[in-house]
């Protein structure tokens, strides 16, 4: 049954056979560790270490992993909010054509940011408390010089209505709004210049469940209305499963598994993914059988273990895992895994018979 489902889902997810909207190639971001008065560089934190994936037009790719695995850094490198250390980020820009974002100069990157936008995790920190909604939502339009004056006001009113806020709120300040409403404001700001691609960095993790559901619905609605493509960075696996067409699992700066949502959750092929699946707290009161509990701690990205980074915590690890780093391989159609034993292991997903 899950197999059937995964097939239909996969075909839906990769049906757009045209060139991907975004192509990330061997992306790396290393942060130097500096010590002492002279700020001598004594090491590198490999926050993002050789990450490659594609995002097709109109799809949602989920990026999951535990804190410190590099998922947010990946999102920021794509935006060029920070500069990647190396690698390529090919993007189909509506005006510039196919460009490598990693190599654009400041002027060009401003043009690209019209169509690549971001929404942030903390709705309290991401809105300037001294700006009115009109200034906040209109800021990208003014900065890009797209429209001016009265037109901006009209567009702000339109955007606020679109995300479910009253246009009369335009002259108010963010403090007058709740977390969920603030996240709507952040979304209105992101969508104001009619972008194509939105990096959503944990957009619902600061919200209560009932409000989280509203924002998730709104994100889907906006995607359908505006033909948006999302990179959805989050740690809540149920939320990621709900919104994503495909999911990439990251561990210590590397993608360890990339497949359709159904395949990741029902037939995972990487032991780390299996452990993640097993750890999801499910709203189901029946006792669980054989939970895979990880031992030990996440590897230190400044001093990762030899071979596969996951091997010290992996119960399937063999000799080769301690010496040789595995590469990302396609083990089933459109199912990529970075594990020496991916083909021989049969791992458990998160599916349970329904209540």
């Amino acid at each position: 049954m899950p197999d059937q489902a995964s097939q239909t889902h996969t075909s839906a997810a990769v049906s757009s056979s045209t060139e991907p909207l975004l192509e990330v190639n061997a992306l790396k971001k290393h942060f130097p560790i500096q010590r002492g008065f002279l700020k001598r560089v004594v090491g590198q934190v490999k926050a993002v270490d050789d990450v490659s994936f594609n995002v097709n037009q109109g799809e949602t790719v989920g990026l999951v992993g535990e804190s410190g695995c590099g998922k947010t850094t990946t999102g920021r490198c794509i935006m060029r909010a920070i500069d990647p250390s190396s690698g390529e980020v090919w993007y189909q820009d509506p005006t510039l054509g196919r460009v490598d974002i990693a190599k654009l100069d400041n002027k060009e990157i401003r043009l690209v940011r019209r169509s690549i936008r971001m929404i942030f995790q903390d709705p309290y920190a991401s809105l300037n408390p001294r700006m009115t909604l009109q200034e906040i939502v209109g800021a990208p339009l003014r900065a890009m010089g797209l429209i001016r004056g009265r037109e901006i006001e009209d567009r702000v009113a339109e955007m606020l209505t679109l995300v479910g806020l009253r246009p009369e709120y335009m002259r108010r300040y963010p403090h007058a709004f709740s977390g969920g409403q603030r996240q709507r404001i952040g979304l209105a700001r992101a969508l104001a210049p009619s972008p194509k691609f939105v990096v959503c960095d944990e957009p619902v993790s600061a919200l209560d469940v009932s409000v989280q559901a509203q924002i998730l619905n709104l994100l889907k609605e906006m995607q359908e209305k505006m033909g948006l493509t999302y990179l959805f960075v989050a740690h809540d696996l149920s939320v990621v499963a709900h919104i994503s067409d495909r999911v990439a699992v990251m561990y210590v700066g590397k993608i360890v598994e990339l497949a359709s949502t159904a395949a990741i959750f029902s037939t995972p092929k990487h032991p780390y993914t299996e452990a993640l699946m097993s750890a999801i707290p499910l709203p189901d009161p029946r006792p669980r059988d054989k939970r895979v509990l990880l031992t030990g701690e996440v590897a230190n990205p400044a001093n990762p273990p030899s071979g596969c980074y996951f091997h010290p915590r992996c119960k399937y690890a063999k000799e080769i895992c301690t010496t040789t780093a595995p590469v990302l391989e396609e083990v089933a159609p459109a199912h990529y895994v970075r594990c020496h034993r991916a083909k021989e292991l049969t791992l458990t997903g998160a599916i349970r018979p329904s209540l």
Binding site: A12, D208, A279
Partner: protein, 350 residues
């Protein structure tokens, strides 16, 4: 029989905060019962009063908050002349927040694990100093003995190399290890009730699974009751035997964990359950246009509580001229299943 089972009985607890903007009724008539050796899950969204209820239970409500009414009966077991089974009933609500009696209860009979392990510890003191403090205070043992007990406790929470960790400072430990140390601290005096206020919210999902597993096995070993406060219904399903759902300072539904998931009655509980993405459904029947059944609107402003049922403005089953006028009473819809909603009021009147 039930007398022996009951550990804490909260009756009509009211805790208000007096702010310049007005009075916030953070806890507005909460009733709940914690039974010995069992886990009571308290679920609700931010601001529903779940944390303030637990702080009230320890007389730790921060100013300008005040316990304004109600009872919090603690059935404290006493051993007199070696005969167990005697029980002292203490009304915690009546105790002086700075008095000797509540100090004897805090950390000794009732202890607490907080959400953020770093803020629950003193950064300039070692783990050992912080654990032994309460052991020395409450059990009157020597420093050396307390240290041995602390090492034993750290081993019980599955800390690797406890004899070394005991001299570490909190910053030297990872988030999961810190939370283990805080749990060791909380359990060092073998309390009969452990209050866990979102203890895994700051942790990653795999670490969370480890801590939940640990808390369950410690409960088996020590037999303490747990008051588990969380907004995560998945965690409740794993940890609790009994569940109360809170909304705007009130318990709106109370029953066992199976019933809350299989047969929820209150529209708010149903709304919460349908708000969370269902993993099974999402994966076995993928559908891009699937929407979550969100609860409409948002939690009302705490300064202006709606008249009648506080959930009425958001409720899909609202009965006009009743729900927005009259506050519903707590009714027993089925044996052991209590709900505060007009939809079920007629069951008891018949």
């Amino acid at each position: 029989m039930t007398e022996m089972d009951t550990l804490v009985e909260i009756k009509d607890l009211r805790t208000y905060f007096y702010l310049t903007e007005g009075v916030v009724h953070a806890v507005e008539g909460v009733d709940l019962t914690i039974r010995r050796g069992r886990t009571l899950g308290v679920v609700g969204e931010s601001g529903c009063g779940k944390s303030i209820t637990s702080l009230s239970l320890l007389q730790l409500v921060p100013a300008p908050g005040k316990i304004e009414g109600g009872q919090m009966l603690f059935y404290k077991p006493v051993e007199r002349n070696g005969s167990a089974g005697m029980i002292d009933v203490i009304d915690i609500a009546a105790l002086d927040p700075k008095g000797r009696e509540i100090r004897d209860i805090r950390g000794n009979h009732i202890s607490m694990v907080f959400q953020e392990p770093m803020t629950a510890m003193i950064p300039v003191r070692t783990i050992g100093q912080q654990i032994t403090e309460s052991i020395i205070l409450h059990q009157g043992v020597s420093k050396r003995e307390a240290r041995e007990q602390a090492i034993d406790m750290l081993a019980r929470v599955k800390m690797s190399r406890p004899e070394r960790v005991i001299d570490d400072y909190p910053f030297q430990l990872s988030g999961g290890m810190r939370q283990r140390a805080v749990i060791a601290m909380a359990l060092s005096c073998r309390p009969s009730l452990l209050i866990a206020d979102e203890p895994t919210t700051a942790l990653d999902v795999t670490t969370e699974a480890q801590i939940l597993d640990l808390m369950r096995s410690l409960q088996n070993d020590f037999g303490m009751a747990i008051l588990y406060i969380t907004h995560n219904l998945g965690v409740v399903a794993e940890m609790a035997q009994d569940v109360v759902v809170m909304y705007m300072g009130k318990v709106v539904e109370e029953t066992d964990v199976k019933t809350i998931f299989l047969n929820p009655l209150h529209p708010y509980t149903r709304g919460l359950l349908s708000s969370i993405p269902q993993l099974n459904e999402t994966i076995t029947q993928p559908n891009r246009s699937r929407r979550l059944q969100a609860i409409k609107g948002m939690v009302p402003d705490p300064y202006s509580r709606p008249k009648g049922c506080p959930f009425a403005p958001r409720c899909p089953h609202v009965i006009p001229d009743l729900c927005d006028q009259v506050e519903p009473l707590n009714v027993q819809a089925e044996p052991g299943h209590f709900v505060r909603c007009h939809l079920y009021s007629d069951i008891t009147s018949s």
